[in-house]
Symmetry: C2
Subunit: 355 residues, 2 copies
Amino acid sequence: MGAPAAGPPGGSSDRVTVAFDALGAEAGVDAVSEGVAAAAADGIAVRVFGPESVFSGLGSGLVEVIDTTAVIGNDEEPVRAVRSRPEASIVRAAADVAAGRSDALASPGSTGATMTAALFALKRIRSVQRPALAVEIPAPGRERPLLMLDVGANADARASHLVQFAYLGSAFAAAVLGVEEPRVGLLSVGSEAKKGSALVVEAHETLAGASGIDFAGNVEGRDLLDPDLEVVVTDGFTGNVVLKTIEGTARAVGDAVGRAARSNPLAATGGLLLRPALGGLRHEMDPDATGGAILLGLRGVAVVGHGSSGPLGIANQIRLAARSVGERAVERTDELIESSGVGRSAIRAAKESEA
Amino acid sequence: MGAPAAGPPGGSSDRVTVAFDALGAEAGVDAVSEGVAAAAADGIAVRVFGPESVFSGLGSGLVEVIDTTAVIGNDEEPVRAVRSRPEASIVRAAADVAAGRSDALASPGSTGATMTAALFALKRIRSVQRPALAVEIPAPGRERPLLMLDVGANADARASHLVQFAYLGSAFAAAVLGVEEPRVGLLSVGSEAKKGSALVVEAHETLAGASGIDFAGNVEGRDLLDPDLEVVVTDGFTGNVVLKTIEGTARAVGDAVGRAARSNPLAATGGLLLRPALGGLRHEMDPDATGGAILLGLRGVAVVGHGSSGPLGIANQIRLAARSVGERAVERTDELIESSGVGRSAIRAAKESEA
């Protein structure tokens, strides 16, 4: 392609079409069918990449099944697999977006394969050095979303990457999550500007003088629930570890509460009475509530769903992809980065003037 | 000094003496007095560095108060403060260990000042490149301890540092936490050897061929509750962020359960019935249960307590310091590192043979 054409495809309609890699889902056919149907019921057109024999019941109305039987598994090396297997569902779905037949990509399959296929097919926004994987972190009791990035697109980062991540996250939170002037924090080990790794100290210095975003300074692991914060920036290694630590800790505490409730009859009665009120918490901590992560910095929209998504998760990752197209997330990201002078050309110019 | 004499001080007795920086405690005088008295009741001699006017009631039996009124605060730059203020309580307490009057240091004060004072006064073990701060992480439902290091002594690390941390943690878990042949994991973003930052991939390569420790390979954030793991190694930036993320998530989930229990009368009744059974969980997640972190790799014992320690936390940080002396943690660490060939001299020799 390069980039998908700006504005809705098909010319006259503002209908958004999402290419969905159904072969990546761990959930069964029924869960996928239910999730896709729910998204279609919202008026989203879905092009489903999966076996026609299996998904034949889906292909009507806004849903079209593109017969695909090859899948890239979690255990395959993503770059090699994506390069060598054009027939695989995630590669075909990404190519569908690149060709302009779909407006956005969503896949609950291998994260590595989805990111790689999306990057190869959709390409980076010109001003962006590295794409970053962003996810709404499950934080109980928060009224506003909290977006963390990078949670795993790049295991190593430079300070200029972290600076750009702040803009990618800010633009996405404003465009898609509905947050006016998002507050952006930099994950570190103390609030002072000089606290943290050399990487973080350098990024802080640039962000402290940055325009176009609302930089809240350093934030710590325990501040992730700070209500005055909507975006947290970190490198992909730390972000991935933190995200999994949150999941693991929440599960461990939940399990421990469950064990306590099974420890004696009185506690069991207590657990039963408390259970309905805990429904909200379970919903808040449910990864399916957001549907998945989104790869920011590309010239198109790519949503990386949870492999374990149920029907709600599948519907929500398709909805997130469609909403990102509808809100012009890509275009607004590019505009913010260019107008704030932190794009690649500005970075190159700064380097040349130093040399 | 340099290092404290091997074996118990005072020659004939096996009584351990701990220098305790009472001015660092945020808790009131009563909490400090109660905690120190509890440790002394276990047969530990405590030299308390704090104002005699305040702690006069403590000075009897195994407890001696050394009149000290100057304190280094959390907001002071540690290296400058420790260098310029020999009269400060943490500097005097550390000097007391270096002079052989005490066997170990414990302080609930500024982490930075405690680490700096300990490093300056006690020095590194010769074979160790960098000391690391280790802490038992609060993990509900675990039967065996889980030690994580580094949680903040060094914001940046090299692969050879991470390799040494594996040995520091393994030796400490075996000597002081009573774990036979501890399993040591390397924190990363996937179990495969090639997953992770360049730093982690390099450290993994060395650890995979290392002798003298039981390397379990990479572990992820969500594996921190894996029952077959007793030591987790990471750089001080990631470790600090992860530790605070665990604390923050556990508190947020606990708060959400509390809110649920206040949401309606039935739930409130349930919460009351469940409450006693949750006592064990509260204890497991209580930082006071372990007393604090320990700075490993020094020629003496230094325990960095929680600033917010109550009486139990204060007693436990003094007990941890005393146990580390009694179990010869320093000597056993040095022996393990030297015998495994990962000491500084081995690293230097490897570098020279490469050159």
